[in-house]
Point group: none
Chain length 193, copies 4
């Protein structure tokens, strides 16, 4: 599965042949089919196991009780850092999740579901913060979750697998620096002090 997820991410699902995977793995072609029903099956297994791990990380970051604005920003920073760290450790899965789109229907849907669940988690988090009086009630929560999710997806994508303008040093930031930048933008925008 590790070999497969890497090749899927690097070259695309369709451009990855079973023979590539088994050659890398040093086993025979038939062996693949002893462990996986089909090419699609291994992709779905990859997604499923990645999905679980990712959602676990996000759910650990849930806000539960009220606090100061500073505490909220810190908490959000910790969550983002956790997610970024997860992305770093599962970069090929993350690349597929964030940029994959050429695959078969079933695989596309599995990725889509995962991202929807991810966004839902963020929405619940924002909802909770509004309930606790930590965030203004003003705007639609769906939109705020969508904006936040966009931020995270985009920043991870640029940080880990480009594309980024050649001169950018984004790729060299540490997890914590990145989280600090993102969380600052998240709460204060471009104008924030």
């Amino acid at each position: 599965m590790e070999i497969a997820v890497e090749r899927f991410a690097k070259y695309g699902y369709q451009n990855t042949k079973i023979s590539d995977i088994v050659n890398d793995a040093g086993v025979a072609q038939g062996t693949f089919y002893w462990y996986f029903k089909s090419k699609e099956a291994i992709a779905l297994e990859i997604i499923e196991s990645g999905r679980e791990a990712l959602l676990t990380v996000i759910q650990r970051g849930y806000r539960t009780e009220a606090g100061s604005v500073q505490e909220m920003v810190q908490g959000s920073g910790r969550l983002l850092a956790d997610i970024f760290r997860f992305a770093q450790e599962h970069r090929y899965f993350m690349e597929l999740l964030l940029t994959g789109n050429g695959e078969e229907e079933a695989i596309r849907n599995a990725f889509r579901e995962t991202r929807i669940e991810m966004e839902k988690s963020f929405r619940r988090n924002i909802e909770r913060a509004v309930e606790l009086g930590m965030l203004p009630k003003s705007t639609d929560i769906h939109i705020r979750a969508a904006l936040l999710m966009s931020l995270i997806e985009g920043i991870i994508a640029r940080w880990l697998f480009g594309p980024s303008p050649a001169e950018s040093n984004l790729a060299e930031l540490t997890v914590d620096e990145l989280a600090a930048e993102a969380v600052h933008f998240e709460f204060f925008g471009l104008l924030g002090i």
Copy 2:
């Protein structure tokens, strides 16, 4: 090309057969090869023409002279609205640009280049605003451009082609409402008034 871009976006580049395209177009298979050298060639042409149109829109929104914060926010809102409108009118191209990843090397690169150029445009815009004293100098400009680009990409993707949580009403927003939300977040973040 219109038929091709739609199918590429809906089903993926690899899942689109030349025979699909020509059937839809009502011509014979051979005719395709009179107009395009290959499958890859039509994809690259699609990207090239989309790239030009998109960059034209963005460059029209360039900030040239200093102004108040309010003017800056308004200008940014107009630019976002223009981009969103372009996305609406070229939704299949935009879908490929923002979510495509399963394709061949050359095509992937062409999309990547386009997005890099797009991000460069935004960076120049921010740079100019800093020079004119309209934005604080504090943060790295590359990061701010990346954050802004992430925002725009994510919001368009959710607005036009999902995935979005089923209950979200994002898809029903008008161009101007969407631009207002995005620009507010861009400058003030979640905490902005």
Copy 3:
């Protein structure tokens, strides 16, 4: 189709590769799939066209009006001779029809249906002869049709494609001699004069 039916009969459906067929035909593998949807499809087409031709022959031999026993025997002899001649001219189709059994469900069924229709034709013929008072009413018509059909199938199989005891000269009989023997047995059995 001619090449395919021959190979199917000689070596079996499953032992016949598409590559065998196209090599014999002197075309490329892909060309096969321009004319036939699949390996199964060509088999079904072979059966369908053989079925029509065979049933046409049988239906031409229908008894319509009463006559003497001798005329009945002669008519039956003519019908058998026609069938034998058909078998001779379509020996590979006939071999598949009479002995084929290792194929896929759909193909097996198509052959089965053809043989059922064939037997039905004979039954109608016998029924008619009973109505016209040319044959005794005594026995069950289904059984008589089954016995008759068995006779014809078995005799064709032995005549054209064995197995037959090596010393048998069955294979050397002409159509008319064979028909004479069969029709004699049909009406008079082993004891008949």
Copy 4:
């Protein structure tokens, strides 16, 4: 072997996987190869053991001394009934013997040999009856044996495994009824009283 013969008959030799057989048998795949050298080997063993049992039955029915026509008919009826009973008790073997044709060369030949031997037995029986003056000398003995064998094969095939016209009640006949019908046709044909 019982499991194998059933699957071979029901689905065909080639459509039966070793894994099907061992799953049904509740043993591991490797175990199969401790008992049988190969897939072909088990088929040949099945044929060999069936062949012996079948020929034993037929040889028990041999005519040895002269008698009246009625005695001859009765003897023939007993033999047919024995064969039909055997077929009933070994229906899967019989199905393969009578209808199998898609298999590998060696297996096809083994079945062919068995049927040839079977037909030889009948021929010897008829020869003996002619020598004893119980049957007319007129016709070629090979042909009469072929006709008789055809009758038996066809009737068993229809009785036990179709195909038969849906309305036929052939399948519901008892062994003795079937033998009576067949033997009557054998000696007297359609016109026999």
